[in-house]
Point group: C2
Chain length 398, copies 2
């Protein structure tokens, strides 16, 4: 997920923090779970923290909650502003707010930073109580199922009795579908976008190059580095490369084309190091990322992505989703080549084959994988009506 | 271009060095040009060497020559074997040889390592006579037009009076089209595959990440490193990433899918560093590349690619190709997402708009950009018949 794409209010943010349609200033909270937590790998940590935000209010019947799941580099801050000076709002501020597609006047919206992450939730940069040092590479191997189970504990803590919906794009979409498999009766609606039932070899390959860039950086030091140090060069390279996979050839050509920066050497010869605008843009992306992301978390979460395979342990994808009781909507984006439409369609098809109430929408954006984050009245309309749709979970009882 | 894809004779190489259809053991030659050579940038070197190979014989009228142009990581060794123990033949051995699509019984085939390269031709690793040290980053800024002009000098040296054809894929395709613009009357046929009239923002972006990986490696040292040292980590990362762009999602899924290596730690937990086969494959690609390629050459040649824009200096692509006198065939490959079919079609269209004898073929392979290197009877048939086609250059005189 890019960090540049959060759609800001068009009339300028400073006057909009408390504008209609915006959740305004928000405060993150910490959910501290003080019991042992066993990962799917069998590894156990003595407890964990999830940093999260909520918008709107839980109703008396405790069934109007929507869990929003973030992508690889996202976090719990999906709507509103932390302080008036913030340059950008939360990453899904265009879709979450009073009167918006995810209407916080109606719904109690929850978003948590994933376990293994680095934005306040327990992850490799957190202190291991048994050693009083950061976990580093000794942090347990995280899977999307672990992300699901830890967030279920948060929802229980918040008193949520069932999810009106769970939604997300990319890794967030994986999390949404996995959640409805782990806790079928708990989830009424699944809205997964720009996602896949399993990482393809190509997606794994890109992640692996990013991990190699990090791990081959001497400053990675087997994952043992100071909080403000670490493999900044390798992490920036990983991010630059990944960022290309979030966009499309068309959108990059429209945004940058072959325009050059003015950087030339004294003889007026194009310099080797940055003549094209797209290069400066990518470098900026890399640099801004290293100031907000932990390299060991990047390794951990990309591994969770690569290991994601809904059908693993089943004989087929259909068997894997056979237990789902949720109403499901899968949304693919035509220009997404990281998790292309056919990978999204496949999920809907497997659900339909099992007789589930599943649907698929394909939107004709040309903005690549990040399309799910960008302004789209069509997407808003789909989300709004899906969330408003009546459902009867007993139809799906197995 | 991958170095794994050269198609070896099916019955095993050792018995095939002198088999029908194979050019057998070949010896590279050096063309030493001892006069000042001015690059398009205005920079001048006092002379240069091009390493090249030839297969077949120049006829009495000196008009049966075919110049083959290599891609980014290719070289002059496109057919045959250097010695009996070689693991692999030249990179286009499947298409060049006696009786093959590029028939060395009929044609005098020439292939040279590009200027700026590192396989024997003068490039950044060569000694600058004025300093007695390697040029390093002081090597002139290379463009595809410079590649063309240096190879034209080689052809004159070889006594070639006109090119029966010029052909190549990827950068080789760029070189072929550029050659027919620089020297219209000299080139009878152009066969350009898996190529583009200009690098797109996405292609530039991938190249830039590779360059950053190299230049951020401390061992790069501003391009000043020992011949057997240098930014091996950065170069391997660059190569791994680029390699993904030469394949297709489909071909990677077929070749590797989600198969895992057996690498696990003692507890049987998947280790962070290489559980998927595709990861090991990419690492191998990176490691084998650093043993044969110079990092400064990689910077130089990717810059030449990025700066490639046929229309630059003209008001349109049509204006740029208006001088072409060659019969042209452009071949795109359906699954090539680095230089996708539409970018190939665009070249043919511009030529057609100018009334040139141009054609376009699109092949339905699913092997990605590297399709032009792989076994394909369809491609062989197209190449063979195009090279055999009668042409009358006077038709095209402007």
């Amino acid at each position: 997920m890019t960090d540049e794409v959060a759609v800001e209010p068009k009339s300028g943010k400073s006057s909009n923090h408390l504008a209609p349609g915006d959740v305004g200033i928000v405060v993150p909270h910490d959910f501290v779970y003080s019991h042992p937590f066993a990962f799917k790998s069998g590894q156990i940590i003595p407890g964990f923290t999830l940093r999260y935000e909520t918008y709107g209010a839980l109703n008396a019947t405790r069934d109007n909650a929507i869990l929003i799941c973030h992508a690889l580099s996202g976090d719990h801050h999906c709507a509103g502003w932390h302080k008036a000076e913030d340059r950008k709002p939360g990453w899904w501020n265009n879709i979450v707010g009073p009167g918006k597609a995810v209407d916080t006047n109606k719904f109690f919206v929850v978003c948590a930073n994933v376990i293994g992450g680095c934005q306040g939730s327990t992850g490799p940069a957190s202190i291991d109580p048994s050693t009083q040092k950061a976990y580093g590479i000794h942090f347990p191997f995280v899977t999307i199922a672990d992300v699901v189970r830890s967030q279920k504990l948060l929802l229980e803590h918040l008193g949520v009795s069932e999810l009106h919906a769970i939604m997300g794009g990319s890794m967030g979409g994986m999390t949404a579908v996995q959640f409805s498999i782990e806790f079928p009766a708990f989830v009424k609606r699944v809205l997964a976008m720009a996602t896949t039932a399993r990482e393809s070899a190509q997606a794994i390959a890109f992640n692996e190059v990013g991990r190699q860039a990090i791990m081959q950086d001497p400053a990675w030091n087997q994952g043992d580095y100071p909080r403000d140090g670490g493999p900044r060069v390798g992490l920036a390279i990983a991010r630059m490369m990944a960022h290309i996979t979030y966009l499309s050839d068309t959108s990059m050509d429209r945004k940058f084309g072959r325009r050059r920066t003015t950087l030339q050497n004294q003889e007026g010869v194009p310099a080797l190091d940055a003549p094209f605008e797209v290069e400066s843009y990518l470098k900026h992306q890399g640099q801004s990322f290293i100031n907000r992301f932990d390299a060991n978390s990047y390794l951990t979460i990309t591994r969770a992505l690569d290991n994601f395979d809904l059908a693993q342990g089943y004989t087929s994808l259909e068997k894997a989703v056979a237990c789902v009781q949720s109403e499901c909507l899968i949304v693919g984006f035509e220009s997404d080549w990281l998790f292309p439409p056919e990978q999204n369609r496949e999920i809907a098809l497997a659900l339909l084959k099992c007789g589930k109430r599943a649907s698929y929408a394909e939107l004709a954006t040309d903005l690549g994988h990040d399309s799910f984050l960008l302004e789209s009245e069509e997407l808003y309309a789909i989300v709004r009506s899906f969330l408003g749709r009546k459902t009867n979970a007993t139809d799906f009882a197995i």
